[in-house]
């Protein structure tokens, strides 16, 4: 059952933009792009938040680190995205590890605020540091690429297939992240993270160095956020502090993860697939026309979130899907 759903989902994801492309609309591909970016961020956040169970509201800092690192490498040294991305992800993970280790002495809410603290400190640094462009940030010039493969590897799509290219790039990165997270979940790391979440002291009693594994968890999150940041940078063609350090880069993935099911591998995916299109639809139908600029779309969005939180706090994955689909099948038989 799950396997069938997976195959259908994968096919849908791959085929989805093609009819739209033929038609000429690119808006929905961009929506899809955003879905996969947020799903990827949600998968990343799920490691520190869902599996290791730590409150983390600061990973947008590493999103920015990734974006800036890759942008700097490209602008100053001509390093293309395919190489810049892994380097940026590694840099993000490293900085995260160094910053987080001393913070692991703090527990629960105190740790949460410390993650916010790093974000608050990063903002003026980003806005005033001349080397990375201060408030103006960095611009990423588009170099003409000779063929599709070259364009894909440098994340620089242009022309009529631009949105399509970014869509597939996001899909590919998302799929890669999903695979990696599935592996982490089944590995020693996955077990240790969840042990720390369930009972940190008991985990220490069976030999788990909780500080070390919290750092590892957060660094994995940082690497994913950094990679997503690179993707975003080359899509937006510019990196500036107000944009890449925005709180939404963590609150949206967190919400997607909670809606879908926190701590479950597919939770963030389900959540992103539901929330992002809703917010986009709200924005285009209720946010334009006579009610434009009145935030009606966001009111409805907020209402939906509140209702889901109130009536299905464990996330939508925890609904009895198997029972529903099982019943349907036996009804046919």
């Amino acid at each position: 059952m799950a396997r069938i759903a997976l195959i259908i989902g994968a096919l849908a994801a791959v085929l989805y933009p093609i009819p739209l492309q033929i038609q000429g609309t690119t808006y929905y591909q961009t929506v899809g792009f955003l879905v996969f970016v947020n799903a990827m961020l949600g998968l990343g956040w799920n490691v520190i938040g869902g599996w290791a169970g730590q409150f983390d509201f600061g990973p947008q800092v590493f999103f920015a680190v990734g974006a800036y690192t890759a942008a700097l490498l490209y602008v100053k040294l001509g390093v293309d995205a395919w190489l810049g991305l892994p380097i940026a992800a590694a840099v993000a993970a490293l900085i995260c590890a160094v910053l987080t280790y001393p913070l692991t002495r703090l527990r629960g809410h105190y740790f949460a605020i410390s993650t916010v603290a790093i974000w608050m400190i990063a903002q003026p640094i980003g806005a005033t540091w001349e080397y990375i462009g201060a408030a103006q940030g960095l611009f990423i010039p588009v170099k003409p690429r000779s063929n599709v493969v070259s364009a894909a590897l440098s994340l620089q799509f242009a022309g009529p297939t631009k949105a399509l290219g970014y869509y597939y790039a996001a899909l590919a990165l998302f799929a890669l992240t999903l695979g990696l997270m599935a592996w982490v979940e089944r590995s020693k790391l996955g077990f240790y993270f969840r042990a720390i979440r369930d009972d940190q002291e008991a985990a220490e009693g069976i030999g788990i160095d909780s500080r070390l594994y919290k750092v590892i968890a957060r660094s994995i999150t940082a690497a994913v956020f950094g990679a997503a940041g690179v993707l975003y940078a080359f899509w937006a063609l510019s990196v500036f502090p107000e944009q890449v350090l925005e709180l939404n880069w963590s609150t949206l993935p967190i919400m997607a993860t909670v809606v879908g099911g926190i701590g479950r591998l597919w939770g963030p995916v389900l959540g992103a697939v539901i929330l992002i299109p809703i917010s986009q639809i709200m924005s285009t139908t209720l946010g334009t026309g006579p009610l434009a600029g009145r935030g009606i779309d966001l009111i409805v969005y907020g209402l939906i979130i509140v209702v889901i939180a109130a009536f299905r706090p464990t996330g939508l994955l925890s609904l009895p899907w198997a029972r529903w689909f099982g019943r349907r099948r036996s009804a046919l038989a």
Partner: protein
């Protein structure tokens, strides 16, 4: 040197206002351990309420504290009963999620009703005293801010007495320490939580009504105060009302001293850098019971 002293004095006065902003969160988060991302939105509603009453009915913000407090108390209770009660038992992240949704709702409801334009109140009682100054040994106190700080301190002390000296306050503390034990002595936890939310919302809205004399009013004004309030409550040590006051004063001073030497963009960064430093040296906050 007097520039520094002046900054400290200004910071202390702002600190009293911050204390009033943060103390509502001390009750909700520190005592009840419920996360509220929408705390700043209650403040924003208080500010808008004061502005609206002033623009429409010429009611001075200081006087509108009473109706605003009552309305927001009821609103806080409503939010608890309809939303927070349902997410209380579950994952803390669901509480976060729920209150983020509330944030979107409240902020954009105000945008829908009033647009995102910046608004100001003019000619309020405190603002009319704008020129008056008090100078004590080389340090100047602007009378409006001084009076506002004084009012905030009085309200803060009133709350302190409420929590520490009245039966209601003790019941609240009891419920936060051990819900079941509280039940055994006849306290109804649900009622306590609802009242705590009402009280928390009312307090921060009152702070908003006072702040309207000094800050411009717009729907997005809340988030900066939410973030600051969390830092203050954590610095002070959860659930410690006295700790909240001291932490708020500290934050006010750090902000104003930082601005003397660095661009204003850094003032909050320094507050949080101090938080990290203090947090690493004293993980349970200044007065926390860990």
């Amino acid at each position: 040197m007097t520039e520094l002293a002046q900054a400290v004095v200004n910071g202390l006065q702002m600190g009293f206002l911050y204390a009033l902003v943060a103390v509502g969160l001390t009750i909700i988060w520190g005592l009840m351990e419920m996360i509220n991302f929408a705390h700043g939105e209650f403040l924003m509603l208080g500010m808008f309420g004061a502005w609206w009453l002033h623009a429409g009915y010429r009611l001075d913000p200081l006087l509108s504290i009473v109706p605003i407090a009552l309305v927001m108390y009821a609103f806080g209770v409503l939010v608890y009963r309809q939303l927070m009660r349902r997410v209380q038992g579950g994952d803390p992240f669901t509480q976060i999620f729920a209150t983020i949704g509330l944030l979107f709702l409240l902020q954009n409801a105000v945008v829908a009703g009033f647009t995102s334009d910046y608004r100001f109140v003019n000619d309020t009682f405190l603002q009319k005293l704008g020129g008056a100054r008090l100078t004590v040994s080389g340090v100047t106190f602007a009378v409006p801010l001084l009076l506002a700080a004084g009012l905030a301190l009085v309200l803060f002390l009133a709350l302190y007495l409420l929590i520490e000296r009245t039966e209601f306050g003790l019941a609240l503390q009891a419920t936060s320490e051990d819900r079941d034990a509280a039940r055994l002595v006849g306290i109804r936890p649900q009622r306590m939580f609802a009242m705590a939310w009402g009280l928390g919302a009312a307090l921060v809205a009152i702070a908003g009504a006072i702040l309207v004399n000094f800050f411009s009013v717009y729907p997005q004004v809340g988030l900066q105060f939410t973030v600051l309030a969390y830092a203050i409550v954590a610095l002070g040590g959860f659930g410690s009302i006295l700790g909240t006051l001291l932490a708020a004063l500290l934050v006010g001073v750090i902000q104003s001293v930082t601005v003397v030497y660095l661009p204003p963009a850094f003032k909050d960064a320094f507050v949080f850098a101090s938080y990290l430093l203090i947090g690493l040296l004293r993980p349970q906050g200044l007065f926390g019971r860990f």
